[in-house]
Amino acid sequence: MAAIEANTRRITYRDAVREGLRDALRRDPAVFLMGEDIGKYGGCFAVTKGFLEEFGEARIRDTPLSESAFVGAGIGAALGGMRPIVEIMTVNFSLLALDQIMNTAATLSHMSGGQFNVPLVIRMASGAGRQVAAQHSHSLEGWYSHIPGLRIVTPATLDDAAGMLATALACPDPVIIFEHMALYNMEGELTAAFGPADIDHAVIRRAGRDVTLITYGASLYKCLTAAERLAAHGIEAEVIDLRSLRPLDERTFIDSVSRTHRAVIVDEGWRSVGLAAEIGMRIMEGAFYELDAPVQRVCGVEVPMPYASHLEQAALPQVEQIVAAVTGMMAGAAGGAGAG
């Protein structure tokens, strides 16, 4: 363990994002940041604190509350040779920029016959759990993943939080990075020499032989906790962190399901017509005859997110539900255990 400790630093997810951003700003003068309150205020989640002093007004640009204009300006600046990183404070406000994201960023390469690429990186915080109610708690990762032309990544670990940014910047396509709000204060180990992280593939975060838990973002930790509890009952769960939702690395989860013969998909997003449905269907297409039990989903309950803590928690996937879904399917019980 000593060697591992020497090569890692214990910091928060927030600081890992910050390190990734600072590294990018130092490496490439074409990189600049813009977004609401990222400068003087230091970022809504304090990710960019101190950046204005370090990198100056030209590269750390506080924007007006004009999501469509500053996302569109990011697209234009990317077309003009810059490498903008646009911060949309939260995914909830990104709906005000959806036209630019969907009708411009995602379409331009194809619509121009490959003449123009949009090397734009958009970061946004997502998710629920902070009692900020229905307009500040969306999980729309699956929604955005519906759109051809975009790349959607969901860093759940510190190395991914720090390292996916460099890969996203090097990518000629528009990349949206979703950072779950619940992760910013999480402490973990950042590899000291962290480098560009792969943004094409899922990874197995915990190996197991009995069931595959497929998830992304903050739900990864609920799945890992559930896997520990299941292990106490002799059930070994494999936990897959999708990391990239578009492209979706189905090879990794189909191979896993082909080994474990069971799958539970855990997604904070709403159950209907969502990412979990897509993953489930890909398992049907790619591993149907490998299954020993119907695929299960543990998803967000289909309701605008309530304020009161007990209601909010009841609307979100919980460790107990994941455990129940797995034990139910291991016992051969019929019916779903999904929260939705």
Binding site: S68, G74, A77, N103, S109, M111, P247
Partner: protein
């Protein structure tokens, strides 16, 4: 902020013929498009530029090849005036592989990297933030290029208009906003949809240099644009030009034009940018009837050639359908 009186600006024979040629090339191209639409060769939405030629032609005169341009779905005229070959344009409308976007964009989405032509946006107001960003890139990289954004007066009701005006002024970005006020947003007149109808005044409220010009007078547009382009280029600050113009044809090929009278259209036809300018050139002895005939034939021949080229070109293989959804230089996408 009032429009300048018409016919004030002097012009040489050579330059006058150049401006007229450019406007005729566009008019001829557009008229042919209408025919080809009727013949089923061009499909989808088709928005023609007839009547507004003086705006694109007038503004383009003072732009450099290093400047960036963003426009709307009524952008054939800007594309031609910018120097995109009519062959590649017509092939695009035919959906052919030799089209400037390989047949993926069509009439509303013309792009051309070599002339820095960034569309071709069919979402009203969508091109404004893009132009702001292109201007930001010029500024951050210390280049002397500017961005020019063409849009209609309908866009002035969109949130993106206000957001973009504010951002461009706040950050002092080198962008020229050219608002082509043709009086109708599809079929809704300006006064029926916007409370304040002086658009140049609206832009001026964003602490931006703004002026209105008679958009039917190519020399007036050229002079106003030259001044504003020089201002934007040297001051690295935005400016706004409202060109008061008129769309002589229907909004698109599906428009029965119930919202305006034939008399109104006839009246504006009399004020059309080509007829008035040709008349002025002739009256000033700068052009003969033969000159005009020669220009017309030249423009027709160019369009004939473009149509032939488009007809003879092939369609992109269906196997290529998903190409360019993601860049081909790295990463694939799923």
């Amino acid at each position: 902020m009032s429009a300048q009186p018409a016919g004030q600006h002097a012009v040489t024979r050579e330059h006058g013929l150049h401006l007229l040629r450019e406007m005729l090339r566009i008019r001829c191209f557009e008229d042919r498009c209408a025919e080809l639409y009727g013949a089923g060769k061009i499909r989808g939405f088709l928005h023609l530029y007839n009547g507004q030629e003086a705006v694109a032609v007038g503004v383009m005169q003072s732009l450099r090849s290093t400047d960036a341009i963003a426009g709307t779905y009524r952008e054939h005229g800007h594309a031609i005036a910018r120097g995109i070959a009519p062959r590649r344009l017509m092939a695009e409308l035919f959906g052919k592989e030799t089209g400037c976007c390989r047949g993926r964009g069509g009439s509303m989405h013309i792009f051309d990297a070599t002339t820095r032509f960034y569309g071709g946006s069919a979402i009203v107001g969508g091109c404004l933030p893009l132009a702001v960003g292109l201007a930001l890139a010029e500024k951050l990289q210390g280049r002397d290029g500017i961005a020019v954004c063409f849009f209609g007066e309908g866009a002035a009701a969109e949130g993106e208009f206000h957001e973009s005006m504010n951002l461009a002024a706040l950050w002092s970005l080198p962008v020229l906003f050219v608002c082509e006020n043709n009086l109708y947003a599809m079929g809704t007149a300006l006064a029926r949809s916007q409370a304040a109808t002086d658009l140049a005044a609206r832009a001026a409220n964003y602490r931006m240099r703004a002026q209105a010009v008679d958009g039917m007078d190519v020399l007036a547009v050229e002079a106003a644009a030259r001044e504003l382009v020089a201002f934007v280029r040297t001051e690295r600050a935005p400016a706004f030009l409202e060109a008061r113009t008129y769309r002589l044809r229907a909004h698109s090929m599906y428009d029965p034009q119930l919202y305006r009278s034939k008399a109104e259209v006839r009246e504006w036809e009399e004020r059309g940018p080509l007829v008035t300018f040709a008349r002025r050139m002739e009256a000033q002895g700068l052009m003969s009837e033969d000159d005009l005939t020669a220009l017309r034939e030249e423009a027709n021949a160019e369009v004939d050639d473009a149509v032939r080229f488009a007809e003879q070109s092939s369609f992109e293989p269906v196997a290529d359908l998903q190409r360019f959804t993601y860049a081909e230089v790295a990463h694939g996408g799923d």
